[in-house]
C-alpha cells in the first residue's frame, strides 16, 4: 500500500507549522543527542514504522561541500531508531553521476552510518510505479517513482543548505528531485528542467509529501550552487514538520526572501506555510542565526535589502 499522502489544504485551513533552529558549531558535535532532543519535541509518529531518510547526494565530493554531511545522516538514523522506528532506510538518486557507490564512498557514509547493505537504497535504480500527478504545476502529467519512496511510512528530507543556480535555493523541497529515478529519466533528470523546475518541485512534493525535514546548515554553499558554489559556514540545523515552513525559515536564515523564491512562494498556496506568523519558531531565532548567503546576479532580487 502506498503511504497515505496528506491532503492538499489551502493555507487558512492548516494548523501552524513548527520549525526549530539549532546552533551547531561543527560536525564533530554530538549531533545524535542534539538531533534526538530536537526531533523528540515534535512527537513524530514513527514508533514501529519504516522511515526513509532522503539526503542530498549530488556527486563525488571529497571536500564535503555539496552533499549532506554523513555525520548528519548518521545522527538522523540514530534519532529515528531511538524514537521507536522499526527500520530506518537511507535513499537517494544522485542527479549528475550514475555511480551512486562512488558518491557514497566519496562522503565516507559507511564510516559514519555503518554497513549499508540492508539500509541504503539507490533510488535511481529501484523498482518504480506510475504516479499520476494531480497538481499540474509543471507540464508533467505523471512520473514513475521508486516503490521504496511510495512504500515507507515516514519520509524525511535531509538536504544541505545551498543556493541553486536555477531554483534560487535547494533545500528540503528541491531535494525531492532525488527521488525521481535516473534509470527512467537520465542523469541529470532533464525532463524536470524541460517541464519547468519550479513547477516540477511542487508536483513531486505534492506526490511524495515528505513528512519531516532536517536541513544540514552547519556548512552550506553559496553563490553558484548546487555544485560549483563556495563553502559557507552557517552553523545551524533547521528541523521541522512542514517542508515549506522549513525552507522559508532557511531562506530567511540565508538572508533571502522566501516570498520571492518562486517554488517556495507557489508551494505556500498548497503544501505548507511561508508566513512567519504561521510558523511556531523553536530553538534559536532567525535573527540570531542569520548568515547572508551570496547569490548569483540572476537572484539578486531575492536578497533581503537587495
Amino acid at each position: 500500500m502506498p503511504r497515505e499522502a496528506t491532503l492538499l489544504l489551502p493555507p487558512f485551513s492548516r494548523p501552524p507549522s513548527r520549525v526549530a533552529i539549532r546552533r551547531v558549531s561543527s560536525y564533530q558535535t554530538d549531533l545524535a543527542t542534539l538531533l534526538y532532543e530536537t526531533v523528540r519535541e515534535f512527537e513524530v509518529p514513527v514508533r514501529g514504522k519504516t522511515v526513509l531518510l532522503k539526503p542530498n547526494l549530488v556527486g563525488p565530493d571529497p571536500q564535503g561541500m555539496m552533499n549532506t554531511h554523513p555525520a548528519v545522516i548518521a545522527a538522523a538514523c540514530e534519532t529515528f531508531l531511538r524514537l521507536g522506528a522499526s527500520e530506518v532506510l537511507i535513499g537517494d538518486g544522485p542527479a549528475m553521476d550514475r555511480d551512486t557507490d562512488a558518491v557514497v564512498e566519496s562522503i565516507r557514509l559507511r564510516e559514519y552510518a555503518g554497513p549499508l547493505a540492508r539500509v541504503f537504497v539507490d533510488l535511481n535504480v529501484d523498482d518504480v510505479e506510475r504516479v499520476r500527478l494531480k497538481t499540474h504545476a509543471s507540464r508533467l502529467k505523471e512520473l514513475y517513482l521508486p516503490k521504496t519512496v511510495r512504500g515507507v511510512d515516514f519520509l524525511v528530507s535531509l538536504p544541505k543548505l545551498k543556493t541553486h543556480h536555477w531554483a534560487g535555493v535547494t533545500l528540503s523541497m528541491k531535494n525531492m528531485f532525488g527521488v525521481v529515478p535516473g534509470s527512467c529519466y537520465g542523469w541529470p533528470k532533464n525532463v524536470l528542467h524541460w517541464a519547468g523546475i519550479d513547477g516540477a518541485i511542487l508536483d513531486i512534493n505534492a506526490a511524495v509529501r515528505p513528512n519531516f525535514a532536517i536541513v544540514d546548515g552547519i556548512i552550506g554553499m553559496e553563490g553558484d550552487g548546487p555544485i560549483q558554489g563556495t563553502s559557507k559556514p552557517c552553523g545551524v540545523l533547521v528541523v521541522g514538520d512542514d517542508p515549506v515552513a522549513v525552507d522559508s525559515t532557511c531562506a530567511r536564515v540565508m538572508g533571502l526572501l522566501p516570498e520571492k523564491i518562486s517554488h517556495i512562494a507557489r508551494a505556500a498556496t498548497m503544501l505548507g506555510h511561508i508566513q512567519e506568523e504561521k510558523i511556531r519558531q523553536l530553538g534559536e531565532s532567525i535573527e540570531s542565526t542569520r548568515t547572508p548567503f551570496a547569490v548569483l546576479e540572476a537572484f539578486r532580487h531575492v536578497r533581503q535589502h537587495s
Partner: protein, 327 residues
Amino acid sequence: MREFCPVESARRGAPVCTLVEKEFLPFLLRAQNADGGWGYRPGLRSRVEPTSWALLALQEFSGTSPLDGALARGLRFLLGAQLPDGSWPAAAGQEEGCWVTSLACWALLAQKESLESLARGLRWLSEEWPGDARLWWRLVRRLSKDRGISAQDDSYSGWSWTPGTASWVEPTSHALIVLHSSPAALIPSGVSRRQELAEAMLYDRICPGGGWNCGNPMVYGVPGEPLVSTTVWALLALRGNSHRTENQRSLDWLERMSGRIRSPGSLALAQIGLDSHGRRIPVFGNLLRDLYERKGIPWSVPEVAWAALALSARRNWLNLAPTDEMH
C-alpha cells in the same frame, strides 16, 4: 587469499578470468528473473537496461548450456519489451521509448534472428531528435538572457535521455556506439549527418582538462569536473578519432583518475575505456576484487556485467580485435 589470475577456459580455448567464471557469470545467472529479464539488483523487476548489459556479458562468454539458456530467455524478454514504434521503455508500463533503446539494440547486434527488431530500433533512434535540435528551441535560447550561462554550441545535437529533451553525453555516446557497430544494411539513410552532429556535440561538451561529465563542461564560467562513466562512453563513441588531442587528453585524465576510483562499476568502466585504446589499469583484477570484498552493498547487475566485460580478452561486444591474451 585466492588468486584471480587469467586461466585458459577448457570450453572455448579463450582466456577467461576466474573472477568471471566463479563470481560474475554465476551471479548473473542467479539474478535472472523468471520472465527472462534482469532487474538492477537481484530481486528487483526486470528492466531493459540491466537486461541489455547482462545479455552483452553472457554473449561475450557464451558457449555453455547454462549461459546459452539464460541468453535465450533474456532475448525473449528483450524482444517482448519492444514498443510498436521500435523503441524500448525504461520500465514496464511506460508507453514511450527512451535512451535504453540504444542499449537494447546493442544487445541484439550479435543475434542474427533478431535483425527485424534491431532494424526497427535503429530506425527509431535515427528518427528521434532531441528537443534542443528544434528550430524554435534554438530561437528561444538565442533570445534568452540565460543563453550565456552554459558555454555550448547550440548548432550541434545528439540524443536525449527522454524524448523531446536536451542532448546529453551518455545517451549520445550509446547511440553513436550502436550505430557505428551496426550492419550498414540496417542503418537508415541520412544517419551519417546525425552522427557528424553528435560527434561534434561530444567534442563541444568536453571538459577543459579532458574527459566528460553529463554534458555541462562550463557553467557560469566555471569548468565542470569530468566523470569516469561518461568519459568512457564518449571515448568509446569517438574511438575512430583516437589520434585527436581531445581523445588523448581524456585518456590521460582517465588514466590519472583510475588510481583513485573507489567503486567497482567505475573501475570496470575505466578499464574498458583504457583497454579499448591500448592502455590499461595495472593489476585491474585484484583492484576489482578488493573493492568488491570491501564494499558492504549488494552487487548490481550492470556493474557486474561491466566487470565481466572488462575482463574479456575477446572484446567481441566492442567489435574490437583483442590486443593480447591476458588481463
